[in-house]
C-alpha cells in the first residue's frame, strides 16, 4: 500500500467487524453453561458494535462510491472501476515469497456487511426469546457468534483464501447449529448431510482456488499495484483450461461449484431443506438470510472471472433458472411451514444465481440484500407461529392464527407480499431487476431463464398465499390435544409451558420487535433500487453495467403473474377455509404430480440410490481389497501350512483309505520296513552313516 494514499479509518479497522464476534465466540465457548446472560449479552453487544461499524463502512463507501473520481481517489483507479480501499498483511512466508491476506472496503463489502450484521443482530435478539428455556443456551450464542464472525469475515476479506477459510467456518457454524439439538437423530443426520454436501462443492472451490493461486501468483482480489487475482483476468482468459474452456472459465466453473453447494443450487440443494431441523432462528439466520447467500456473494466477488467466460455464465444462468423453478414447484406441495420457506429460499437463490448468469450482477446482489431482509422476516415469523402454536409445524393443523397473533400476522403478511413481488415492496423491485436482466440476456433459447423465472413468480405468489391462508385465515384446526408432536424436540417443548395448550398466543416483545423492524426494511428498502433514474444500488454496486431503462413489459408480466398467483392461491385456499383434517385441495387438482412434487422430485432417493450407494460400495470394496491384500501377505506365510494340511488330508483320505482294504500283503512287508523306520532321528542317522561308509568302501575297492 502506498503510504501516501489516504485510507479511511473504517477500512483500517474493517477487521474488527468479523474479529469481534469471533472473540465473543471464543470467550463464550470457555464460559460454563450457567453464564447464560453473560454469553447472550456478549454476543448481542458485539454484534451491535459490528453493525455500527458496518454502517460506518457503508456511509464511507457511499460517500466515495458515488463519486469515484471526485478528487479523493485512493489509488490510481481507472474511472470505470469500482472504488475500493485495501489493507493487506502477511500471514506467513514460504520459499522466497509470502502468503498475503487482506481486507477490502468497497460497495459490495459495505452493503453485504450491513445487511448481514443488521439481520444477525435482530436474529440474535429474537433468539433471546425463542431459546430462553434451552439448556444449551450459552452454547447457542457461542455458535451464533462464531457464525456471525465467519460470515462477516468472508464479506470483508480481500483474499480468496481468507474467503475460503471463513467460508468453511461458516459451514462449521452451520453444522453445529443445524445439529444443535443433537439428541435428535434427524438433526444430527441433517447436520452431517449439510456439511458433506457443501463440502463436495467446497472441494471444487478449493481446486479453483489452488488453480487461481498458481495461475496468478496471488489470491488477493485486488492489490494496490493492480496485480490482484481479479485484475489479471484478461491474461487468464487467454490461457487454455479444461473442457474447451479458457483458464478463467475453468476456475470460474470450479469456484461456482462452491457456490452451488453453499447456495443450495441444483444439484446440491438437498441439504438445505433438511437443515430446517435446526432451531428456527438458525434457519432464519443461516439458511435464509446470510449463509446461503454467501455462494451468490462469492460469484459476485469473483465476477470478473465469470465475465471472461460466456459459457460458464450460461451454465450459471440455466442452473439458477432451473433451481428457481424446481424449488418453487416443490414448495407448492409441502405441508411443513419451515420446509415451504426452505424451498422458497432455494428458489429465490436460484433467481439470484440466474441474475448473475445473465450478467446482472448488481441485480442479483440487490435481490440478495432484499431477500435477506424479507426471508429473515418470514422465518422469524414462522418461528413465532410455531412458538405460538406449541411447536406445530404442519400448516394443515394451523389456521386462524391471525386473531391470536396480530403482530406476527401483519409482519408475515408484509414479508409474503415482498417475496411474491407485489408493488411497492422490496421483492418487487429486486425481482424485477433480475427478470429485466434475464429478459435482456438474448433471444431464442436465451429467453429460457426469463420464462422459467416468470413461471417461478407465479408459483412463488401461489405457495406463499397458500401458506398465509392456511396458517392465518380461517379457523384454528389444531385445537385438539395431540398426543405425539412429531416435530417437537424436548428443548423446544420446554420453551413454552407457561401457557395453556390449545390456543395460539402472541410471542413476547423480544421476538416481535425484530419482526417489526424487519418488516419495515422489507417494505421500504426496495426504494433504494428504483429503476428509471438514480438507480442507487446499481450505480453503487456496479457502475459499469447499470441499466437505465425501465422495461415495462417485464414489470407488467411479473406483476400480473404475481397477482395471478395470489389469486389462484386465494381461490383454492382462501375462499372456503379448510375444515380440520380436510385434505389438501391441491391433491385433487394435481394428482400424481403432487406426490412427485411433495417427494421433492425424488432427488434424495436418487442420490441415495446413486452417489451414496456408490460411496458405500466403494468403501466396502476398498475395505475388502485391503483385507485381500492383508490376506495375501499373511497368506504367503500360511501357504506352507495350507499345503501341508492339504497334503495330509490327501494322504489320509485318498491314499490310506483307498489302499487299506486290499493291501494286506503289502502291509506285511511294510511292517518290516516300518521297523527300520522307527521315527527316531538317530536311527536314521545311523543308517545314513553306515550306508555311506559301505558305499565309500565299495567305491574305493572298485
Amino acid at each position: 500500500m502506498n503510504p501516501a494514499t489516504h485510507i479511511p479509518w473504517i477500512a483500517s479497522y474493517l477487521w474488527l467487524i468479523p474479529l469481534l464476534p469471533f472473540a465473543a465466540a471464543g470467550v463464550s465457548a470457555l464460559l460454563p453453561q450457567r453464564c447464560r446472560k453473560t454469553s447472550a449479552g456478549l454476543a448481542i453487544g458485539v454484534i451491535v458494535v459490528s453493525t455500527l461499524l458496518s454502517f460506518c463502512a457503508l456511509a464511507e463507501s457511499i460517500l466515495h462510491g458515488l463519486e469515484p473520481h471526485a478528487g479523493r481517489t485512493w489509488s490510481a483507479m481507472q474511472t470505470h472501476e469500482v472504488w475500493h480501499s485495501l489493507i493487506e498483511f502477511t500471514w506467513f512466508n514460504y520459499g522466497t515469497t509470502s502468503l498475503k491476506l487482506g481486507f477490502v472496503l468497497d460497495p459490495l463489502t459495505a452493503a453485504m456487511a450491513t445487511m448481514v450484521s443488521l439481520v444477525s443482530a435482530l436474529i440474535f435478539i429474537y433468539s433471546l426469546g425463542y431459546m430462553s428455556r434451552d439448556k444449551n443456551f450459552t452454547r447457542f450464542f457461542t455458535f451464533l457468534s462464531l457464525f456471525a464472525g465467519a460470515m462477516l469475515g468472508l464479506v470483508v476479506t480481500n483474499n480468496l483464501l481468507l474467503f475460503f477459510i471463513c467460508w468453511e467456518l461458516v459451514g462449521l457454524a452451520s453444522y453445529l447449529l443445524i445439529g444443535f439439538w443433537y439428541h435428535r437423530p434427524s438433526a444430527a443426520a441433517a447436520a452431517k448431510k449439510a456439511f458433506i454436501v457443501t463440502k463436495i462443492g467446497d472441494t471444487g472451490f478449493f481446486a479453483g482456488l489452488l488453480w487461481l493461486y498458481h495461475a496468478t501468483g496471488t489470491l488477493q482480489f485486488y492489490t494496490p499495484d493492480h496485480t490482484g487475482a481479479l485484475e489479471q483476468v484478461t491474461a487468464l482468459a487467454g490461457l487454455p483450461g479444461i473442457m474447451g474452456l479458457s483458464l478463467a472459465g475453468t476456475i470460474a466453473l470450479l469456484i461456482f461449484c462452491g457456490a452451488v453447494g453453499k447456495s443450495g443450487q441444483w444439484p446440491l440443494h438437498v441439504w438445505l431443506p433438511d437443515a430446517m431441523e435446526g432451531p428456527t432462528p438458525v434457519s432464519a439466520l443461516i439458511h435464509a438470510a446470510t449463509m446461503v447467500a454467501a455462494g451468490v456473494f462469492l460469484v459476485a466477488r469473483t465476477y470478473p472471472l465469470f465475465q471472461a467466460s460466456p459459457q460458464v455464465l450460461t451454465l450459471v444462468a440455466w442452473i439458477g433458472a432451473f433451481t428457481a423453478i424446481m424449488a418453487a414447484t416443490i414448495a407448492v406441495a409441502q405441508n411443513d411451514i419451515k420446509r415451504i420457506l426452505a424451498y422458497s429460499t432455494v428458489s429465490q437463490l436460484g433467481y439470484m444465481v440466474m441474475g448473475l448468469g445473465v450478467g446482472g450482477m448488481a441485480a442479483a446482489m440487490f435481490h440478495l440484500l432484499m431477500h435477506g431482509f424479507f426471508k429473515a422476516l418470514l422465518f422469524l415469523g414462522a418461528g413465532s407461529v410455531i412458538h405460538g402454536c406449541h411447536n406445530e409445524q404442519d400448516i394443515f393443523k394451523m389456521g386462524g392464527v391471525k386473531k391470536h397473533m396480530p403482530i406476527t400476522f401483519w409482519t408475515y403478511f408484509v414479508g409474503t407480499l415482498a417475496l411474491a413481488g407485489i408493488f411497492p415492496l422490496a421483492g418487487f423491485w429486486s425481482k424485477d431487476e433480475v427478470l429485466t436482466a434475464a429478459f435482456r440476456w438474448g433471444g431464442g433459447l436465451h429467453k429460457g431463464p426469463f420464462v422459467l423465472g416468470c413461471l417461478g413468480v407465479f408459483l412463488t405468489a401461489f405457495y406463499m398465499w397458500r401458506q398465509v391462508c392456511l396458517v392465518f385465515l380461517g379457523e384454528y384446526r389444531g385445537g385438539k390435544a395431540r398426543a405425539g408432536h412429531k416435530h417437537v424436540g424436548q428443548e423446544e417443548a420446554e420453551t413454552h409451558h407457561e401457557t395453556a395448550p390449545g390456543v395460539p398466543h402472541e410471542s413476547p416483545a423480544v421476538m416481535t420487535v425484530p419482526l417489526i423492524i424487519l418488516a419495515v426494511f422489507s417494505a421500504f428498502m426496495g426504494f433504494s433500487g428504483l429503476p428509471e433514474h438514480a438507480n442507487f444500488i446499481h450505480h453503487f454496486l456496479n457502475p459499469e453495467h447499470a441499466p437505465h431503462v425501465v422495461n415495462w413489459f417485464v414489470i407488467g408480466t411479473a406483476s400480473a403473474l404475481a397477482f395471478a398467483g395470489l389469486g389462484a392461491g386465494h381461490l383454492l385456499y382462501g375462499v372456503k377455509p379448510l375444515a380440520p383434517d380436510e385434505p389438501d385441495p391441491l391433491k385433487a387438482k394435481l394428482g400424481k404430480l403432487r406426490d412427485f412434487l411433495r417427494d421433492k422430485w425424488y432427488c434424495d432417493e436418487l442420490y441415495e440410490a446413486t452417489v451414496v450407494r456408490f460411496v458405500r460400495i466403494a468403501a466396502v470394496v476398498v475395505d475388502l481389497g485391503d483385507r485381500l491384500l492383508d490376506g495375501v501377505t499373511v497368506g504367503l506365510g500360511l501357504l506352507a501350512r495350507g499345503v501341508s494340511f492339504f497334503n495330509f488330508k490327501f494322504d489320509e483320505q485318498a491314499i490310506n483309505c483307498g489302499f487299506d482294504g486290499g493291501c494286506g500283503s503289502v502291509r506285511v512287508i511294510g511292517r518290516c520296513f516300518a521297523a527300520l523306520q522307527d521315527g527316531r532321528v538317530q536311527s536314521y542317522l545311523r543308517l545314513v552313516a553306515v550306508t555311506a561308509a559301505i558305499l565309500a568302501f565299495w567305491f574305493f575297492l572298485k
Partner: protein, 534 residues
C-alpha cells in the same frame, strides 16, 4: 550457536537414563516408575524446547552438530545435528511422549518394563531424527522398533500375537532392505554420512560409483539401473514404515491392538519416521531416481490418500477407522514430497516452480507435525472411550455429548482438525501441500481432493454415531474427562488452534531447509535465485 553444548546428545539420552533408572528401581517400588518416566520425558521436553528456542530458522545448514569418530575401521562417526527437516519432528517426539505417558493409566502389569520401554522408544526416536550417519541412524531406527514390538505384544489387546508379528515382520523386511542398500552404498563410496552422500548425489557421482562396484562384482549394470535398484530398496524400507499403499496392511492391526500410548506413538511419531526417511534420504541421496519415479510415486500417494479414506468409511471399529484416517493423512505428506521430486512442466503465467515446490515441501513437513498432534489427540480420546466402556464399535455408543460435553467438544475439535477445517492446524499443511502439488501434478492432486470429502464423511459419521443422537442409557454414567486426561488433551488442542492460526513460527523453522532441498531438483534456477544462504 554453542557447538560444544552437546544438547542433542543430552536430549537423546535423557530418556534412556530415565529408562535405566526405572530398570534399577526395586520391584516393590513399581509405581515410582510412572513418576520417573514422566519426569524424564518432561525433562526431555524442556530440552527440546530450549533447542527450539536456540534454533536459527534462517540458517539452512545443520545446527548443534556433534561429530566424533566412533568406529574408525569402517569410518563410522557419531554425527548428529538438526536442521529444518528434523526440528519439528524432534519437538513432536518430545511433546507426544509425556502425553502418551499420561494416557498410560490403563497399564496395570509390568509397570517398570512398560515405562522403561516407552523411554527407550523415545531415545530411539530422538536418535532417528538427529542422526546423520547411516550406521547409528540405523541403530536408532531399529531401537525404536523393538520397544514398540514389545509394547504391542505385552500390553496390547486380544489379537496382539498376529498384530505384533505382522508389525515386526513387515518392518523387518523394510529394515533389511535399508541395510542392504546402505551396505552397497558404503562399499561403493566408503561413507555412511548422509551429508557427504547428498553432495555426492547432487554432483551425479553416486550412481556411477554404485554401478562400478556392482560391475566389479561381475554384475553388468548401467549407473541408472544401479541407482534405481538401491532407490527401490530404500523406498521399500520407508514405504513400509510410513506406510504407503500397498505396504500398509500391518497398520490397522498394529494401531488397533497396541495399547493407547503405543498407538499414540505409532501413529503420532513412528509413522513420521518413514516420511522423514523420504526427506532425509530419498530426496537428497536419490534425487535423480526419485524424479524418474515421480509419476508412479504420485499414483501411490494418490492411492494411499483415496483408498485410505474409503477404507476408513467402511470401518465399524473406531480405532481401525482412525488408523486408516492416519494412513490417509500420511498420504498427503507423500503427495507434497512427490511434487517436489516431479519434473515440473506446463505453461503458466507465473512459472515460479521453486516457490510452488517449497510450499509443498513446507506443507509436507508441517503436515507431519500437525498430523502427529491431531492423530495423537484422536487416538488418546479413543483410548479414554475404550478405557471407560471397554467398547470401540461405531454402533456401541450414542448421545455421549449429553453426559460428556467437554469430551465431545475436544474430540470434535480434533476431528475437525483432521478434516482440515481452516483455523485449525490440519488445514495449513493440506493447503500448502495442495497448493504446491496442484500445478506440478494436477491430475493426482485433483483426485486426491476426494480424500478431503471422504475424510469429512467418516469423521462426521463418527461424531454422529458416538456423540449425537439419543443417549445410549448404558453409558448414562459416562464420566467426563478427568483432570489428568484434560492435562494430556488440552495442550494438544491448544496447539491445534495455535498452529492453525499462526503457522508462521513453524514454517519459518522449516523454510530454508526446504528451499535447500527443493534446489536440488531445480538446478537451473539455483544459479538465479541464490537467496537462501546455501
Amino acid at each position: 550457536m554453542d557447538e560444544n553444548s552437546h544438547i542433542l546428545s543430552w536430549l537423546t539420552f535423557t530418556p534412556l537414563i530415565g529408562a535405566i533408572v526405572i530398570a534399577l528401581l526395586p520391584k516393590r517400588n513399581e509405581s515410582a516408575a510412572r513418576g520417573v518416566a514422566l519426569f524424564a520425558s518432561v525433562l526431555a521436553l524442556l530440552e527440546a524446547l530450549s533447542l527450539w528456542w536456540r534454533f536459527d530458522g534462517a540458517y539452512a545448514g545443520l545446527q548443534f552438530v556433534e561429530q566424533t569418530p566412533w568406529i574408525a575401521a569402517i569410518r563410522v562417526d557419531y554425527f548428529v545435528g538438526v536442521d529444518g527437516l528434523s526440528i519439528l519432528m524432534v519437538l513432536l517426539t518430545a511433546l507426544l511422549t509425556p502425553v502418551a505417558l499420561l494416557a498410560s493409566s490403563p497399564i496395570r502389569k509390568h509397570l517398570r518394563a512398560y515405562y522403561a520401554l516407552m523411554l527407550a522408544l523415545q531415545t530411539g526416536l530422538f536418535g532417528v531424527f538427529t542422526a546423520l550417519n547411516f550406521f547409528h541412524w540405523f541403530i536408532f531406527w531399529e531401537a525404536g522398533l523393538i520397544p514398540m514390538f514389545f509394547i504391542i505384544k505385552l500390553w496390547g489387546g486380544d489379537g496382539t500375537e498376529r498384530a505384533a508379528l505382522k508389525f515386526f515382520l513387515y518392518t523387518l523386511v523394510g529394515s533389511v532392505a535399508l541395510l542392504l542398500v546402505f551396505q552397497a552404498i558404503y562399499l561403493a563410496t566408503g561413507t555412511w554420512d548422509f551429508i557427504m552422500l547428498r553432495d555426492l548425489a547432487a554432483g551425479g557421482g553416486l550412481a556411477p560409483k554404485l554401478a562400478a562396484m556392482l560391475q566389479q562384482a561381475g554384475i553388468a549394470i548401467t549407473p541408472e539401473r544401479a541407482g534405481m535398484l538401491l532407490f527401490f530398496g530404500a523406498f521399500l524400507g520407508f514405504a513400509i514404515k510410513a506406510p504407503v499403499w500397498p505396504f500398509h496392511t500391518w497398520l490397522p492391526d498394529a494401531y488397533t491392538q497396541a495399547p493407547t500410548a503405543g498407538t499414540i506413538m505409532l501413529a503420532g511419531v513412528l509413522s513420521k519416521m518413514g516420511v522423514y526417511g523420504f526427506l532425509r534420504i530419498l530426496l537428497p541421496i536419490f534425487p535423480h531416481e526419485i524424479a524418474a519415479c515421480a509419476t508412479p510415486l504420485s499414483w501411490l500417494a494418490m492411492l494411499t490418500i483415496v483408498l485410505g479414506a474409503f477404507a476408513a468409511i467402511a470401518q465399524l471399529d473406531l480405532k481401525r477407522m482412525i488408523a486408516y484416517a492416519s494412513m490417509n493423512h500420511v498420504g498427503y505428506c507423500l503427495l507434497g514430497i512427490v511434487a517436489v521430486a516431479h519434473a515440473a512442466g506446463g505453461a503458466s503465467a507465473h512459472a515460479d516452480w521453486v516457490n510452488e515446490k517449497a510450499c509443498a515441501l513446507n506443507g509436507a513437513i508441517f503436515q507431519m507435525f500437525n498430523h502427529g498432534i491431531t492423530v495423537a489427540a484422536l487416538f488418546m480420546m479413543l483410548g479414554f472411550l475404550e478405557e471407560r466402556t471397554g467398547r470401540r464399535g461405531l454402533e456401541d455408543f450414542g448421545g455421549l455429548r449429553a453426559v460428556a460435553p467437554v469430551f465431545a467438544a475436544l474430540f470434535g475439535i480434533s476431528a475437525m482438525a483432521s478434516i482440515g477445517l481452516p483455523g485449525l492446524n490440519g488445514f495449513i499443511g493440506e493447503f500448502m501441500i495442495f497448493k504446491g502439488a496442484w500445478p506440478v501434478i494436477t491430475p493426482f492432486a485433483a483426485v486426491s481432493l476426494i480424500g478431503l470429502v471422504a475424510t469429512a464423511i467418516y469423521l462426521l459419521n463418527f461424531i454422529q454415531r458416538v456423540f449425537a443422537g439419543p443417549l445410549n442409557e448404558r453409558w448414562a454414567k459416562f464420566p467426563d474427562l478427568s483432570r489428568r486426561e484434560l492435562l494430556a488433551t488440552v495442550p494438544l488442542v491448544a496447539l491445534m488452534f495455535f498452529a492453525g492460526v499462526c503457522p508462521a513460527p513453524f514454517i519459518n523453522l522449516t523454510n530454508t531447509a526446504a528451499m535447500k532441498l527443493v534446489m536440488l531438483f531445480q538446478p537451473a534456477v539455483q544459479a538465479v535465485s541464490r537467496v537462501t544462504g546455501m
